[in-house]
């Protein structure tokens, strides 16, 4: 009987020890005084870059502990951590998704000058896109317009002229057609809202997301764009039928695997593509439609959480990880096209010099991307319910109406 009692006592002690071992709300600071820093990352290489950037903050006197998840999970995980009082001190944020977590972020306007951060050093469009309700919530590190990324090797193989600044939608359609053969396709048309908006801007001059973040998917211009986009698969047959997938960037996956020759995404993808693909990658602005060659600029930055226990240290760290040295480092690693204008040239490493005209043309023709509080929902609904529409099983206008109802 004695051993029995001993066991039960031991079990109780163990349970109590476990439950008391928890420090529930730490204000984003670890026991050793290190500030926690939350960021998304897609690979070890990317994480390594962030760690090196984090070391810059350590040089300035604030040690950072980096936590990463994939971009896809980052937004839900950040909310989950906030609910347990575990929000990190420094938080990565993408311009299109600022409204999602704006309640977690501390307005920075009063502190920027003290930290030596000057808005004039940054590209104005990305600087502005990190403002919500008149407050600057984050300092940008990178930005870029949506561009056409293409498999230049495939173009050459089939003798198709390479896209260059000034090309038109007719050129695009002809190229896509010529590139579609032997079970491979010209273009990847996926139900991803980020990828449709630039087409809508170029073809019709309409943005489905209005000035104040109001979503209007049923306006005639956007409906017409969607019809054209869907027809790339069903009528023109230059893009493969799409599938239901949890892949966040099916277009990039298709490009890397060689199954499609062109896709629309941001320059931040270029390095991943070059790293993973066995062909030469090219960059071109969106082809010009009725409304010209237009694109939208999105980017990312870092903010400080409202719950951070040591905002002064966080501010110093923020200045370091968004500072000129950090920007240069990110650019040289190819992780980001810097938001700091003075460091942008560092991005065009020898392999990327070919991308320069395409990217610069795209930047000059781009407008800041508009965000909406419901952007995440819109994105998810588009991906999930857009699949049968893209494949011609469901009607475009019915789809847009039903999504419209759910996002406003």
């Amino acid at each position: 009987m004695r051993p029995g009692r001993k066991l039960s006592a031991a079990a109780l002690v163990a349970l109590l020890a476990l439950s008391s071992a928890c420090a529930s709300e730490d204000g984003g600071v670890t026991d050793t005084g290190t500030l926690r820093w939350a960021m998304w990352s897609g690979s070890s290489a990317e994480t390594e870059t962030w760690k090196r950037i984090g070391a810059l903050a350590a040089d300035s006197g604030t040690a950072l502990e980096l936590q990463t998840t994939s971009f896809n999970d980052y937004w839900t995980k950040t909310a989950a951590q906030a609910s347990t009082g575990q929000t990190a001190c420094l938080i990565g944020v993408q311009s299109l998704r600022v409204p999602l977590i704006s309640s977690l972020l501390r307005p920075l306007d009063a502190d920027l000058a003290r930290a030596g951060i000057d808005a004039a050093d940054f590209d104005p469009s990305i600087w502005k896109s990190l403002r919500v309700g008149g407050d600057q919530l984050a300092v940008p590190y990178d930005y870029g317009p949506q561009v056409v990324l293409y498999n230049a090797t495939r173009f050459r193989e089939l003798g198709v002229p390479l896209p260059k600044p000034g090309w038109t939608v007719a050129d695009f359609e002809a190229a896509a057609k010529a590139l579609t053969r032997d079970g491979r396709w010209g273009f990847a048309a996926n139900p991803v809202i980020d990828g449709v908006i630039p087409w809508s801007l170029s073809l019709q001059g309409v943005n489905p997301i209005g000035e104040g973040g109001k979503v209007d998917l049923t306006q005639p211009g956007f409906v017409a764009t969607m019809r054209w986009y869907v027809d790339l698969i069903g009528k023109q047959r230059v893009a493969p039928p799409v599938q239901a997938t949890s892949d966040m960037t099916p277009g990039i996956s298709g490009l890397i695997s060689g199954s499609v020759a062109m896709t629309v995404d941001g320059p931040w993808q270029l390095v991943n593509v070059m790293d993973q693909a066995d062909f030469e990658v090219g960059v071109a602005p969106l082809p010009a439609g009725k409304a010209g060659s237009r694109s939208q600029v999105a980017g990312s930055g870092f903010g400080i959480s409202r719950t951070c226990k040591d905002p002064e240290a966080a501010l110093r760290a923020l200045a370091a990880i968004t500072g000129p040295r950090a920007a240069k480092m990110m650019a040289e690693n190819g992780r980001a096209y810097p938001a700091r204008t003075a460091q942008q040239d560092a991005w065009f490493s020898p392999e990327l010099t070919a991308a320069r005209p395409g990217l610069q043309a795209a930047i000059s023709a781009a407008v800041p991307a508009r965000s909406a509080a419901s952007y995440s929902t819109l994105d998810q609904l588009f991906r999930q319910y857009g699949v049968p529409v893209m494949n011609g099983q469901e009607d475009v206008s019915g789809f847009l109406e039903s999504v419209q109802q759910q996002v406003n």
Binding site: A80, S246, V387
Partner: protein, 299 residues
Amino acid sequence: MSMTTIRVPKPRGDGRAALGFLAPSTAGFLLFTLIPLAGSVIISMFAWPVLGNREFVGLENFTDLVTSPIFGRVVLNTVVFVVLYVPANLVVSLGLAVWISTRIRWRGLYRLLFFLPAVTPLISVALVWRLLFQPGGLLDETFRGLFGVAAPNVLGDTRWAMAALIVMSVWQGFGYNMLVFSAGLNAIPDSIKEAAHIDGAGPLRRFWSVTLPMLSPSMFFAMIMTLITAFQVFVQPYVLTAGGPGAATETLVLHLYRRGFEQFDLGVAAAIGWILFMIIMTVTAVQFVGQKRWVHYDG
């Protein structure tokens, strides 16, 4: 099941020793099963966001769910999955178990290989199948090679996606039941088989009137467990189709995950959990009532 084996406890006894032996298990059981179970009833009656204030809403979470068209579709999807998956699983696992138990060499090896997917992480399995089903994947290329046309776009077509999910799930899931049936077959005394043989019964007849009844307890057990796990299907649609195309493969648990942990509406998620539990309990109860007709426990 075997409540009859519990003896009436006598007041005199080993109370203190029992306390010691039970403490670790029961403490954990209380903290991690009973308290959360009670908690989930309470949570399901709240609007419980992950950030911000929670608010008592009574049965609103349930009524909202029941009246929403998406949720109706989700329940229907789950039921369709269960209705097709469970019989397919049982037929395949029983068929293979019986086949292997005939005079086949290296039985252990066959069983082991057929069992492999059951112990492979589901996510790995779902990934391979996604690769197979993708345009330009093995299925598509085989179609092109054999018939000169592309295979149906399985994961992009609302008519095919559920079928793909079921095929993959059966491939992955029948291994356990196959082993359960193998064990059941091994337990049939040779004397009975021989008796039937001497009576001149043919193989089919022997299967129907000897093997099947003798296996019925295993079948009952396998059916209950398979039903329960089938209602809980999550990883397959999460990885293979993300619930799409449209809502074609959105199942109850996937919906629970989305509502609770992507949209952070924990009250609604708890309510979905309870609805799932009630469905499972009802179906299981019906099975237990119905078993008397076909399950033979006498040997």
